[in-house]
Amino acid sequence: MDVATPTMMRPHRWDVPFDSDMTDADVEALMSIPAIANVRADAFPPHIPLRGILRNDARIVSYQPGDIVCREGDYGSSAFLILSGAVRVVLSPSLPRAVLGRQPVHKKGFFGALSQLWTNSRAPEVRDIARYRDIRAQSRGESGTGTHIFLQDVPGVLDHHRTISLPAGQIFGELAALGRVPRSATVFAETETHLLEIRWQGLRELRRFDPGWKRHIDENYRRNALHAVLQANPLFSGLTPEVLKEVADRVKFRTFGSFDWNVSYKEMRDSGAAGDEPIIAAEGLVQDGIYLVRAGFARASVRFGSAQRTLAYLGAGDQFGLDESYESWKTGKPVRRRNSLTGLGYVDVLRVPSDVLEEYVFPHLDVPPPPALTADRPIHDDAFAEWLGDERYFNATQAMLIDLERCVRCDDCVRACASTHGGNPRFVRKGRTFDRWMVANACMHCRDPVCMIGCPTGAIHRHEAVGVVVINDDTCIGCGTCANSCPYDNIRLVEIANPSGDAVVDADGRAIVKATKCDLCVEQLGGPACARACPHDALRRVSASVLVEQDAVTATGTKRL
């Protein structure tokens, strides 16, 4: 090998532990607590040993009374096991933002932004590899002993907010960690508390290899999910805690499809075959309650010709079948479903039985629910919506939608992206098209970011403050799991170079690669540079709901963006 070729050690999963302060003594101490002692260490594969998980994917964090452990709305990627002490969960109402001490997102200053004009490298994908070495040598992971935000007025919180206490031995936070959703409640330390914080990669392995943890996590997951969903739904939000508990006990919880639905979807798309959609509620059968989507996506459809015609895409928080259930209660006769509900990929559904609704909900409804969806438009008007479903774009929160009739192919968007990312564009101005619309290959910051599922280091994560999906270049090991998982091909692996522009390789001469993608200019001033740079307003970053609205625009051809 050329002696001048820059080399570095190939990064591995546990190069950067969650907390480098974790010692063998800590791990041995943890092995003796009941929640860990009952785990069969020999069930774990040799390359992912239980002790390795505790050493590298977990950390011990101490909290004083009043310290906030996690805040409602934050995107966390770890769960907590209470080792000693107790924590308190704020159920309702939510704590005000000021009390939670939310900090503004770190943005570049004006001169910091301007300096990119001359600091951007001319060579592609340049990294300061000395920094990687420093990070490994000095890494403390995410510090587990740093200062915490604390509540000023704990008695006031207890007086004015409904809370519950969790004692030692309990696990919390797994809902957000495994479900890739925001934290549903704020948790603070009630006494001096020691927690074992497990990042979700470790939690996933514990759940995967130990039946006890799997059962425990799943039970907690279901119980907490149920509670959170019911509380968030206007139908049940007015119920007393006792009644809510009664409802929760009678609700059926079901999961359809695969948690890593992206794998089967990609296979289906590559083969060109239509995917199977598990039926959640079939059209024509007697309505037996309402269905609430807790996570994932579902399709409401109606039989049309020899196939199903899409009426709507349902996501987390949406419900199905209320109209028929209400009509059945009102008329006293069984009513058949007018539409079907099928799962798209992975979907968690709650079914609230009709008798529960009739007992606790319908008598208190002031106005009847809106009528069930109908297909009263020409089918051509729905072609765009059907295409969105086929391409799974309903997952998008920030899809890059380009109006090809406005776009003059100047690539100012690409140049703007490059100028804000060290000279490297983070998207490609190509993608799937329908009529005059293109959804370009730029990260859509999905509602269900399946790219995060397999990341061994947690490098790809949700930004805790703003929720966009970002990649930590320091901890990315270039394994390509995220790029392979992304159903939309929006993550690219790039070979990195040193500041002189020479390719960086490992000891075997193989190129070091990193995953890259759009970060929605989270650290830049003024929002996504691509959208601001478009001189013809042809490019917009839009959510799935706006894409669906675009359907009407496309259909009529009379409106323009």
Binding site: F110, A113, L114, Q116, L117, L404, E405, R406, C407, V408, R409, C410, D411, D412, R415, A416, S419, T420, V428, R429, K430, T433, R436, M438, Q524, L525, G526, A529, A531, R532, A533, C534, P535, H536, D537, A538, K559, R560
Partner: protein, 273 residues
């Protein structure tokens, strides 16, 4: 045609009011001629500098300088206003003197190239969407090379299957020209999405077809398919070329005009004193 962007209406209203105001002001009998010329000259130069800043905005996309679309609207409106002020400043459509005429010629050239460029953007962007087969401009040479490689492979296979080199010799004499690089530029850019190209290809394929055996004809069909694919790439190339290259006239002309305008200002200041 694209609908009018409502958000740009205030800019056009203000521009119209400004243009009418300047015309009224300029027609005032109380003003001295020197004041009129100096004022309109400075305003015009300031406006030209502002119009040139639009290109600077593109280079500074990392800064929160507002949307480029707003800048484009201001650029267009400023250009129209510059035309009005230019006419007032010069006093006629074609001034006297070599220097003044050179400056006027550059001004008109910048205006005309700008109008043509903007017109091309409105027209060709829509045509590109209708043409389909979207390709990134920089990838077109690689795309054509890939099609050419397939075509040459088909020709070699035809010779291998039939033992004849009829198709191979004809390919070298005629079809190789077509597959070498983008062809029929104006037909692809302005006409019916490369109809001349299609006619040329079909005529050549038909001509050679009568001399081919059955074994070779299968490969001729493949060449026909590849030719159609190449034509779609040519259409993208021609239209995207025009969209990209008009600024190669507009921007250098504008730079030359601005330089000459500054020189004109210096001369006027020197001789005015």
């Amino acid at each position: 045609m694209r609908a009018v962007n409502r958000s740009s209406l205030p800019v056009w209203i203000v521009t119209s009011i400004a243009a009418v105001g300047i015309v009224y002001w300029h027609a005032s009998p109380k003003l001295a001629y020197a004041d009129r010329d100096f004022t309109t000259g400075y305003v015009l130069l300031g406006l030209m500098v502002f119009l040139a800043l639009y290109n600077g905005r593109k280079k500074l996309s990392m800064l929160p300088l507002g949307k480029a679309s707003t800048w484009l609207t201001l650029h267009l409106a400023g250009g129209v206003l510059a035309l009005v002020i230019f006419r007032l400043h010069v006093g006629s459509l074609w001034p006297i003197g070599l220097m003044h005429r050179a400056l006027a010629a550059l001004f008109y050239a910048v205006c005309i190239s700008g109008v043509i460029g903007y017109g091309l953007q409105l027209w060709l962007s829509r045509r590109l969407a209708q043409a389909g087969n979207e390709i990134i401009f920089e990838r077109i040479p690689a795309e054509i090379a890939a099609i050419r490689a397939q075509a040459e492979k088909a020709v070699l296979k035809a010779a291998e299957d039939s033992g004849n080199d009829t198709l191979g010799r004809d390919y070298l004499q005629s079809l190789a020209w077509y597959f070498a690089q983008p062809r029929f530029f104006w037909s692809c850019a302005m006409g019916g999405f490369g109809r001349r190209s299609e006619n040329w290809l079909q005529r050549n394929l038909h001509t050679i077809g009568r001399y081919l055996s059955e074994a070779e004809r299968a490969h001729l069909d493949e060449l026909s398919r590849l030719g159609a694919e190449k034509r779609r790439v040519d259409v993208q190339y021609a239209m995207q070329s025009l969209l990209k290259r008009w600024t190669m006239f507009h921007v250098p002309l504008a730079a030359a005009m601005l330089t000459l305008a500054v020189w004109h200002l210096i001369l006027v200041q020197v001789f005015a004193q």
